[in-house]
């Protein structure tokens, strides 16, 4: 077999498609205003801004993809070499040419009527501020170099690739989360580190960026076998080797450590990170609640926000001194909470009863309608004397236990409350999943008719799932109302239902760990329906990114980031069945023919 391969050995069509996609992606990011807006945010002084990062990944990715060929089983894999680099460079170069053409088009024809952000600002960023002539050349070189870099990632050994990936990734993450890293430094009382890493005007210095990359590389190279997983395994091994008494003592120690972490965390996180953690926690509670209905019992509920609203309004109506219906006695939060929980369970049954006979899409549409109806009712003149219409209810008092007040503005204190709720709902979900009730839901999800025939009362089972989901959402809502201090109908839009659903789908339907990851990634990083996440710059493009993530996940990983075992089986059923032909009834005559 020859070891050298002509560098022109590629499919022109494939290369053109990859280049076109890359050019389209860059132009799109520029045209929607992302590039210009992000360019103001410096990541590494005089080297990289968030704007150029937002387009820089494109040629790397497509260069990598174009140079990678599908390995066919039974055929020797294609030899890696200069040809791959050439392909990557070509893709980058073509993309660069097209993007420059786009920049030239934007400068000669006024496109701002259609794409509002294609003005001089964008053109200047696309041409590196050098004018269309020299700037175009720079853009082509920029894309070509990154394309070759992408291709070289494919050519190099996997070890080297992972080292480069981790080093670059860490540096960029530390640069992007500058504000949050500073907060953490403050929390750990090492303010000095801030001025060491970042420049006063924002961004890493070139030296600190290089130092971080070097440090990470060193850890990656010499830290093999000492990573978190290995340490965890060793601790676990050590733990199981101990005698029962020591193990019992150790579990007490672990518990104490857990409580200590719980107490210290918000102090280290600081105010704004605690705020984000609280938002993540509330959505995690809602996600876990919806997961009981959708993930465990298999009923697609698109109006889940209604129960969240019931909880929030319930607390507001019972505890606020400014409640519109003054004839309702004003209660303490802890007295009102059980009432709200009972009402929510009742509303869950009320909403569930008429829709219980419906399945799949029909159920989704009807629950969607219910969600909208409840929001409209809270907004209506009819209910205004009780819930306050569009003005909502304000001055909802915050929660307090004895002398300790969990004031809404003090996110560190609210963190303590939310963390307890999250832990409680986690335990509830987990224990239900592996119980008689959870099994009946699983059976219901798999085959409703057979579940009924096997002695499971499907009506009560479904209503139970509905009302438990409703209670969890109401608990979240109650805490939300007490934290924010006011409730308005506009806080309970359809979008909230959808965001909760996206959180659990992206994280992994039916998987508790997955939902936690989904909530952290989507709500924590990108932000909830109204609140910003850690990636503040992305706030305006949040829904766009949600959409992109959702489409990608549905195509490539429908079971979610950290899927549950059962759910993956459902989705990859046919791939995993060796005797898939047995699924087709009627095919087994063949077997009979052979054996008789």
């Amino acid at each position: 077999m020859s070891t050298t391969r002509p560098i022109t050995d590629f499919e022109t069509k494939d290369v053109l498609i990859q280049s076109a996609l890359a050019a389209l992606a860059i132009s799109f990011i520029a045209a929607i205003g992302m590039l210009e807006e992000f360019n103001n945010r410096i990541l590494i002084t005089s080297l990289l801004s968030l704007g150029y990062l937002a387009i820089g990944w494109v040629p790397i990715l497509f260069g990598y993809r174009a140079s990678t060929e599908v390995a066919i089983e039974g055929v020797d894999p294609p030899v890696k070499g200069p040809r791959d680099l050439f392909v990557g460079g070509t893709v980058g170069a073509i993309a660069g040419v097209v993007v420059s053409a786009f920049a030239w088009l934007a400068s000669s024809v006024d496109l701002t009527g259609i794409f509002i952000h294609t003005g001089p600002g964008m053109q200047s960023v696309l041409t590196f501020g050098q004018g269309i002539g020299f700037g175009s050349l720079l853009m082509i070189v920029f894309c070509t170099v990154l394309g070759i870099f992408g291709a070289s990632l494919h050519v190099m050994s996997p070890t080297l690739r992972s080292i480069i990936g981790v080093a670059l990734g860490t540096t960029i993450v530390i640069a992007i989360f500058e504000a949050d890293v500073k907060e953490l430094f403050k929390g750990f009382r090492v303010r000095g580190a801030t001025s060491l890493l970042y420049t006063p005007t924002g961004g890493l210095t070139i030296v600190s960026a290089a130092a971080i990359a070097a440090l990470v590389t060193t850890i990656k190279v010499y830290g093999k076998g000492h990573g978190p997983n290995a340490v965890y395994e060793r601790v676990k091994q050590h733990h199981t080797n101990q005698s029962p008494e020591i193990r019992r003592r150790n579990s007490w120690l672990w518990g104490a450590a857990g409580v200590a972490v719980y107490l210290v965390t918000p102090q280290i996180l600081g105010k704004s990170l605690s705020e984000t953690a609280v938002t993540v926690g509330l959505f995690l509670v809602l996600g876990l609640g919806l997961n009981i209905v959708v993930g465990q019992a298999g009923m697609l509920d698109l109006g889940y926000v209604a129960f969240f609203a019931v909880g929030a309004y319930g607390i507001a109506m019972l505890t606020s001194p400014f409640r519109p219906a003054q004839w309702i006695p004003q209660l303490d939060f802890w007295v009102a909470l059980p009432i709200v929980v009972i009402v929510a369970a009742f509303v869950g049954i009320l909403v569930g009863t008429p829709v219980i006979r419906m399945r799949g899409d029909y159920l989704a549409i009807v629950t969607l309608g219910f969600g909208e109806i409840i929001q409209k009712l809270f907004l209506s003149d009819w209910w205004k004397p009780v819930v306050g219409g569009a003005q909502g209810i304000t001055n909802v008092p915050s929660v307090s236990i004895g002398p300790v007040e969990f004031a809404g503005a003090n996110s560190k204190m609210v963190f303590y409350l939310v963390a307890i709720l999250v832990a409680g709902v986690f335990v509830l979900s987990h224990r239900l999943q592996y119980s008689r009730v959870g099994r009946s839901w699983a059976a219901l999800r798999e085959d409703e008719q057979i579940a009924e025939a096997m002695g499971i009362n499907t009506v009560t089972s479904k209503l139970l799932a509905f009302s438990i989901g409703a209670v969890i959402a109401a608990l979240g809502g109650a805490l939300f109302a007490a934290k924010v201090g006011s409730v308005f109908p506009s806080s309970f839009k359809l979008l909230v239902s959808l965001v909760i659903l996206v959180v659990i789908i992206v994280g992994g339907l039916g998987s508790l760990r997955g939902i936690a990851v989904g909530a952290i990634v989507l709500i924590g990083l990108l932000g909830g329906p109204t609140l910003p996440g850690l990636l503040r710059e992305f706030g305006r493009f949040k829904l766009l990114i949600y959409g992109v993530i959702l489409i990608y996940m549905m195509l490539k990983r429908p079971e979610g980031l950290l899927p549950s075992v059962t759910r993956s089986r459902e989705l990859h059923h046919s791939e995993m069945t060796q005797d898939a032909w047995l699924d087709k009834a009627g095919d087994f005559e063949e077997e009979e023919g052979v054996t008789t």
Binding site: V427, L428, R431, L432, S435, R436, V437, G438, R439, S440, A442, A443, E446, D447, Q449, I450, A451, E452, A453, M454, G455, I456, N457, T458, L464, I468, T566, R569, E570, H573, M576, T577, Q578, D579, L582, D583, A585, F588, E591, E592, T595, T596
Partner: protein, 263 residues
């Protein structure tokens, strides 16, 4: 008194009469086979008994009480369990989970017990698991051991049928309805299952009604055979008398051609 007494059972779907007034009874400890050509209404008969469809007319009396028109789960709770012609397991649940679901109607722990892991809850979960293993052991070792935690869809066809019987057994029925238990099995597996059907009655004490097409199986295990055709009972008796009954032969093979020409 008969364990199951069915009087003048009628069911039609639109204009098609699936059951046209069937009288039927099963005594405790009997194995009764229901046979008949395709489309005779055998499976509809099972579906009406188990409550998947409610009867248009007639009554179904199980252990002295009417079960006509009750929901399937209530009927299962009363002590009637069944398997399906086209095996219907919970394909993505594991084998042991499939059987444990069958214990649902004989257990009672709810959300409260699960949340606080009460003593009663832990004991009941253990009992459910033990019972499930016990039921699976009825089929020897082939559904036990590492198989317990495999998803049901990974099983071979014959094992799926066995698992379906095990799941029905887990509901502690007194009357077991088997819909074509040997369909799709090879001769060796069929012989083995025929033996097991006898054991189901002798060791476990179930009364069995079975739809079956394999006449060797029917002949070997049945105390009594009932023949349905076009939703009507056309013959009843022991296997030999039914096999030689002219109406039955006609239902399966049709009338001789010259006869038809004269009438």
């Amino acid at each position: 008194m008969a364990m199951l007494e069915i009087k003048n059972l009628k069911k039609s779907f639109g204009g098609i009469q699936a059951l046209g007034g069937v009288d039927f009874h099963v005594n405790e400890g009997e194995i009764v086979s229901v046979i008949g050509p395709n489309g005779a209404g055998k499976t509809s008969f099972f579906n009406v008994i188990t409550g998947i469809f409610s009867p248009d007319e007639g009554d179904i009396i199980f252990e002295g009480e009417s079960i006509a028109g009750l929901t399937p789960s209530t009927i299962t709770h009363r002590g009637v369990a069944r398997t399906f012609q086209n095996v219907r397991l919970f394909p993505n649940l594991t084998i042991i989970e499939n059987v444990m679901v069958g214990r649902h109607c004989r257990t009672s722990q709810g959300v409260f017990g699960a949340l606080f892991k009460t003593k009663a809850f832990i004991e009941e979960e253990q009992a459910i698991e033990d019972h499930a293993r016990d039921v699976l052991s009825f089929f020897g070792s082939r559904l036990r051991g590492y198989r317990e935690n495999q998803p049901a869809f990974a099983l071979s066809y014959a094992n799926r049928r066995r698992l379906e019987i095990a799941r029905a057994m887990a509901t502690e029925p007194r009357l077991l309805l088997l819909d074509e238990p040997t369909a799709g099995m090879n001769p060796k597996e069929t012989i083995e299952l025929t033996g097991l059907i006898g054991k189901l009655r002798d060791e476990r004490g179930y009364t069995i009604v079975m739809i079956e097409h394999d006449m060797r199986v029917v002949g070997q295990v049945s105390d009594r055979v009932v023949v349905l055709d076009h939703g009507v009972k056309i013959a009843e008796g022991d296997y030999e008398s039914v096999a030689s009954n002219e109406n039955v032969i006609e239902a399966y093979l049709g009338r001789p051609a010259e006869d038809g020409a004269h009438t």
